[in-house]
């Protein structure tokens, strides 16, 4: 009798997808469908370069979204990302304008974001204040720094920056930018960190149930501070990529980016309440947003307000299908 298996489950065939992977796969499948629609409808959509452009044009978004994924996985939120991106670009541009060595500028710019993230993380953890409000203050602060530095955009003429911006890495007939490669690398590193390090696993644990994680003896505080620092770092990298991308720092750039980023993460299947999601999903989320944008540009007949309505509509259709596919396979 003691051999009666406790809550034994029917054997699972090897080819069956674990249910928790279904949302991500559904998203990927839908993305392919959308791409196929684009190819069939629009001339030049089938060029591989279109795909590469998606990465070139969304590199910084992708990197920032990766950072946001960490935060959202713990059940938090970081509204400061857009402003930190702008601040990083602004600081880089102005320091470069002052003639500082690019390497030094790079270091300073890459330290600023994580420092702010670290500070926000500490406030959130030690004083037990809701992330929303803390990072909103961080958002005001970073944007304030931008306008405080300058109200006009500052062009970057530094040699290192321009070559990083304009260097093309050719793959056959097509090319990608340095920024795109960095973004892809960040995705890979982040995925590995989440899957294969204690930090990564603790992130999921906190998102699952912070109280339990604490009682299980996991370093909750450290991890929470870490994710905001990581998000700050990703925003800083995103800011650098953006400054490569635009070769300037502008005080009003990336306004409202936090919403795009959060949307990308959530569309990618990450639960806003934390504990479930993948960086790969976030990648898909960014691609979805981007492909919606691309479809609309290729169409080229929508006026301004129809653009918004169609974006909303496509988003809705996508989310609905994603949800339906998810339910069916469950």
């Amino acid at each position: 009798m003691t051999t009666t298996p406790l809550a034994a489950r029917p054997g699972r065939a090897w080819w069956r997808v674990p249910p928790r992977h279904v949302p991500v796969l559904a998203t990927a499948a839908l993305l392919l469908v959308m791409y196929a629609i684009g190819v069939s409808q629009y001339r030049a959509f089938s060029n591989i370069q279109v795909v590469f452009n998606v990465f070139i044009d969304n590199g910084f978004l992708l990197v920032v979204a990766v950072g946001m994924t960490f935060v959202i996985l713990t059940g938090g939120i970081d509204l400061s990302v857009g402003s930190v991106v702008a601040m990083t670009a602004m600081v880089s541009a102005s320091l470069l304008g002052d003639g500082l060595h690019p390497a030094l500028v790079l270091v300073i710019a890459l330290l600023l974001g994580p420092a702010l993230g670290f500070a926000m993380g500490c406030v959130i953890h030690f004083f037990d204040i809701q992330p929303f409000i803390v990072t909103l203050a961080g958002m005001f602060f970073a944007r304030g720094v931008c306008t405080w530095i300058s109200t006009t955009s500052i062009p970057i003429t530094d040699g290192f920056w321009t070559s990083a911006a304009q260097h093309r890495i050719h793959l056959g007939e097509n090319f990608v930018s340095v920024g795109a490669l960095i973004a892809v690398a960040v995705v890979a590193v982040a995925a590995a960190v989440l899957a294969y390090t204690r930090l990564g696993r603790n992130v999921y644990a906190i998102g699952g149930n912070q109280q339990s994680a604490l009682l299980m003896g996991l370093p909750v505080g450290r991890t929470k501070i870490a994710v905001y620092t990581i998000s700050g770092l990703c925003s800083a990298i995103g800011g650098i990529l953006l400054s490569f991308y635009t070769l300037s720092g502008a005080p009003l750039i990336a306004v409202g980016m936090e919403l795009d980023v959060i949307a990308a993460v959530v569309i990618g299947g990450t639960l806003l309440t934390g504990g479930s999601g993948y960086v790969f999903g976030t990648l898909l989320g960014v691609l979805v947003l981007s492909i919606i944008q691309t479809l609309i540009t290729f169409d080229g007949t929508l006026n301004s307000w129809w653009t918004k309505i169609v974006i909303g509509g496509l988003l809705f259709v996508f989310i609905l299908l994603q949800r339906l596919v998810g339910i069916r396979t469950k």
Partner: protein, 356 residues
């Protein structure tokens, strides 16, 4: 002596104490910068002064934030309020602008009803997505946040609809018994929502759904219906705010009406003590939060803070508010005081010692 201290402790530990302190500090700072800031005069039978401005201007935010409080209490969030306000305002203004007699009360009432109706439909749409289909609230409402703006612009064809309607204007800038009408409306809606939630069981039921949706379902609460309802209420509040904002300037700008009001509203709710995770909500706190935010904005103008640095100023105040409000923060700066404890019933004093 000790009762005085206990009473002081009771006041300072109240949720609203610290936000109110910051609010007062801001007002004092303004008064120091310009003593007439606090003065209120009666001009043409209307109250007139910066304080009145603050309350009047915060009226739309209070409305939006009230609806947002309920949504947040269920553990959701509504990003579409700004867009809904814009659509409602645009519908109303479009209708009025097309009538020959813009000053007729009937026209204005019809316009408001139309705008309100459209907003309810939009709220129901959000409700269906969240409660019916089960889409995460932030995404569900993001759809309308984007598309709704487009809708508002579509209605106005990208132009600013300017109207010239006395009765409609009253909603934004009229007066009732010397008080700005907007304040009266905000007050009325606040009271209505408070009565609706606190004099009935609705408030508790909302908090229950937000606190633990599954447990609530098993207790026989129609969780989905409640969730649906709060999005409709939120849209309704946003619509009234939209009327106010458009009436204020007698024009509907599909792009500018209610821009970023969702963030301000969420901030107001959170400052008021409601947790974003859902559960308990505090309408009074929300109102104070909204007043605080508007005071902050007005202070920037009144103290003529350089627009270049005004965001830094805001950041500092928000940080101060949230730090000072956090018990964990204050605990670090206060010596331990022994809390009043009701002694437990005594236990028999028998203590047997047993050799180990």
């Amino acid at each position: 002596m000790s009762t005085v201290r206990a009473r002081v402790a009771g006041v300072t530990s109240h949720r609203l104490f610290w936000p109110l302190v910051v609010l007062v500090l801001l007002l004092v700072a303004n008064a120091v910068y310009r003593p007439s800031f606090l003065s209120i005069e009666l001009k043409n039978g209307h109250l007139y002064g910066s304080l009145v401005d603050i309350v009047r201007l915060s009226a739309p935010l209070i409305l939006v934030a009230l609806g947002m409080s309920l949504v947040i209490a269920t553990g959701g969030i509504d990003l579409s309020v700004g867009a809904v306000a814009a659509v409602a305002g645009a519908v109303a203004c479009l209708y009025i602008s097309e009538q020959p007699d813009q000053n007729s009360l009937g026209v204005v009432l019809t316009a408001v009803a139309l705008g309100f109706g459209v907003a309810l439909v939009l709220g129901a749409w959000n409700g269906i997505l969240v409660a019916g289909i089960g889409i995460q609230p932030i995404i569900a409402t993001l759809i309308l946040m984007v598309a709704g703006r487009g809708l508002a612009q579509l209605i106005a064809e990208g132009q600013i609809i300017t109207i010239n309607s006395g009765p409609y204007k009253v909603i934004g800038v009229g007066h009732l018994l010397t008080l700005p009408f907007a304040i009266v409306i905000a007050l009325a809606v606040t009271v209505l929502v408070a009565v609706l939630t606190r004099r009935t069981a609705l408030g508790m039921i909302i908090e229950s759904v937000g606190g633990n949706a599954e447990a609530s379902r098993l207790a026989g609460i129609r969780s989905r219906r409640i969730t649906f309802l709060v999005y409709v209420v939120s849209a309704a509040c946003a619509a009234i705010a939209g009327f106010m904002m458009t009436a204020n300037v007698s024009s509907a700008d599909g792009n500018a009406v209610g821009l970023w009001v969702e963030l301000d509203a969420i901030l107001a709710v959170v400052i008021g003590g409601t947790a974003l995770a859902g559960g308990r909500f505090y309408l009074g706190g929300t109102v104070v939060g909204a007043l605080l935010i508007q005071t902050l904005t007005t202070s920037v103008y009144a103290m003529n803070i350089d627009p270049q640095t005004s965001l830094l100023f805001k950041a500092v105040v928000v940080i101060v508010v949230c730090l000072i409000q956090a018990p964990a923060f204050r605990a670090r700066f206060r010596r331990r005081r022994s809390a009043p404890v009701t002694p437990l019933e005594p236990v028999g004093t028998e203590k047997e010692q047993v050799p180990a």
